[in-house]
């Protein structure tokens, strides 16, 4: 009888938790942050690959950009999914920060965070906020003009405009180039913790974790430095 009662109690709890808990528990939130972060990492890799072609081939950059800017699937499916992913990651990040602050109402007088954790891991909200500000600038520079060009002013398609439009943003503009470079440094700091830690969040911690962490840290350094190189390259060469 004792065992049967326990089973019944568990049965009720189980249903309650599954029905309401998956979207509300700390592990579910952590899992969602990790998945959206990994999705954004994939997007970064794709964005970097396309942008890097602008360094060595104007035609290739124009061709790929034209495809991305006019393909129905990219515009109607991938772009909304990407925007949702970005917005979700930021909103969830701020929600987690607010919840975490509430979990320690009285702060320590002396807190030696550096003794047991990295600066990057303790300041994800700060690096994330800088990236959010950067996205505002980036959208102002490229996304909004693109939307106006295509959907509001309805200009005819021109597959050769992308390279010149991109280069024009950096040519002779040290402030914009500098702001992009600083932002990518913060992106690097964010990725140095976020990318590797996302595997832990989805439950991946085994004999391959060390190799995966090395890859994630290398990615976190190489991709932002690559973005900085592209911006500086166009600033210097034009």
């Amino acid at each position: 009888m004792y065992l049967i009662n326990i089973k019944c109690t568990f049965g009720v709890n189980f249903k309650q938790i599954v029905m309401s808990g998956i979207s509300k528990t700390s592990i579910a939130r952590k899992f969602a942050m990790a998945l959206s972060g990994l999705f954004l990492v994939l997007f970064l890799a794709q964005h970097f690959t396309i942008n890097f072609t602008s360094v060595f081939s104007e035609d290739t950059f124009n061709e790929i950009s034209h495809f991305m800017g006019t393909n129905f699937l990219v515009q109607a499916v991938l772009q909304p999914v990407l925007i949702f992913g970005v917005v979700f990651h930021f909103i969830m990040g701020f929600i987690l920060e607010i919840q975490n602050n509430k979990a320690r109402v009285v702060k320590y007088k002396k807190y030696s965070g550096g003794a047991n954790s990295s600066w990057m891991s303790r300041n994800m909200i700060f690096s994330g906020a800088v990236i959010l500000l950067f996205l505002g600038l980036h959208f102002y520079d490229f996304w909004f003009p693109e939307i106006v060009h295509k959907y509001i002013e309805s200009h005819p398609e021109d597959a050769t405009r992308y390279y010149s439009e991109t280069v024009a943003k950096f040519a002779g503009d040290p402030i914009r180039t500098g702001l992009y470079a600083i932002s990518f440094i913060f992106l690097m700091l964010h990725l140095l913790h976020g990318f590797a830690s996302s595997f832990q969040s989805i439950g991946f911690n085994n004999k391959y974790s060390r190799a995966l962490t090395v890859f994630a840290k290398a990615f976190a350094v190489v991709i932002p430095l690559g973005f900085i190189f592209i911006a500086v390259f166009h600033y210097i060469n034009n």
Partner: protein, 248 residues
């Protein structure tokens, strides 16, 4: 050695606490940190001042009772030890030492440096056990084969003494390391498989209800844990939880 101690004093759970400064002389490097506090308390009693309340019991690093945030780190500056295992030789003559209670909404201060860690007990009650029929047909635990690797991992998880240093160290006051150790020690053994789904769901649910923060994988808990409980346990709990959720 001479020391200056900045210690959090708080009359009771509802009182507004604050730091008091005490000068202490004649401290020997071979004394433990708790013995140093004993000496301070003797002096305070002689001066008709209320002694500083702090948690302690076994004083040999196995009970998980002692706590204290010492100079910004749970259990002090050394790794892999509890406060009772911290020796005064770790400090220099003339040092100022700041001593605070473990801070977390789920660990309310009871008095001075003593905090209420019963939230850990409630997490354990939510599923940190196995149900065994004790009607006379109980199977000998040793008759169930367990893979050596799993037995070792389960044993390592079971070494968690529930001191709360993981929560104290975490910038988010998260209890993921504690909960994951308690989930893992059963999840890795065949005896724990029967209730595995309910266990992880109920324990995580209770952990969240207690008001602990979210884990952001800073790794501070693992480094400050006196028993070296691994972050692997958190990854295992995440897998167990997600798997249990989707089973429904």
């Amino acid at each position: 050695m001479k020391l200056k101690l900045n210690i959090w004093r708080q009359e009771d759970a509802n009182a507004k606490g604050g730091f008091e400064t005490y000068d202490l002389d004649g401290i020997h490097g071979d004394m433990s940190f708790l013995e140093m506090l004993d000496i301070l308390n003797n002096e305070l009693v002689e001066k008709n001042v209320e002694p500083v309340e702090f948690d302690h019991d076994c004083r040999e690093g196995i009970c998980g009772m002692c706590s204290l945030q010492i100079n910004g780190e749970p259990h002090g500056p050394d790794k892999g030890i509890t406060t009772c295992q911290l020796h005064m030789r770790r400090f220099k003559d003339g040092d100022t030492i700041t001593i605070e209670p473990f801070r977390a909404k789920a660990f309310p201060v009871i008095r001075d440096l003593v905090v209420d860690r019963s939230s850990f007990d409630r997490i354990q009650h939510a599923g940190g056990y196995i149900s065994v029929n004790t009607s006379g047909n109980t199977q000998d635990a040793n008759s169930i084969p367990v893979e050596k690797e799993n037995a070792d991992l389960a044993f390592n998880a079971a070494t968690c003494i529930g001191c709360g240093a993981c929560v104290a160290a975490c910038k988010n006051a998260s209890a993921m390391l504690f909960t994951s150790a308690k989930v893992s020690q059963y999840a890795l053994l065949p005896q724990g498989e029967i209730e595995a789904t309910e266990r992880v769901l109920n324990m995580v649910h209770q952990m969240d209800n207690e008001g602990f923060g979210n884990c952001t994988n800073t790794g501070a808990c693992e480094l400050e844990c006196p028993k070296g409980i691994s972050l692997e346990n958190i990854a295992r709990m995440n897998r167990e939880y997600l798997s249990a959720s989707f089973k429904g």
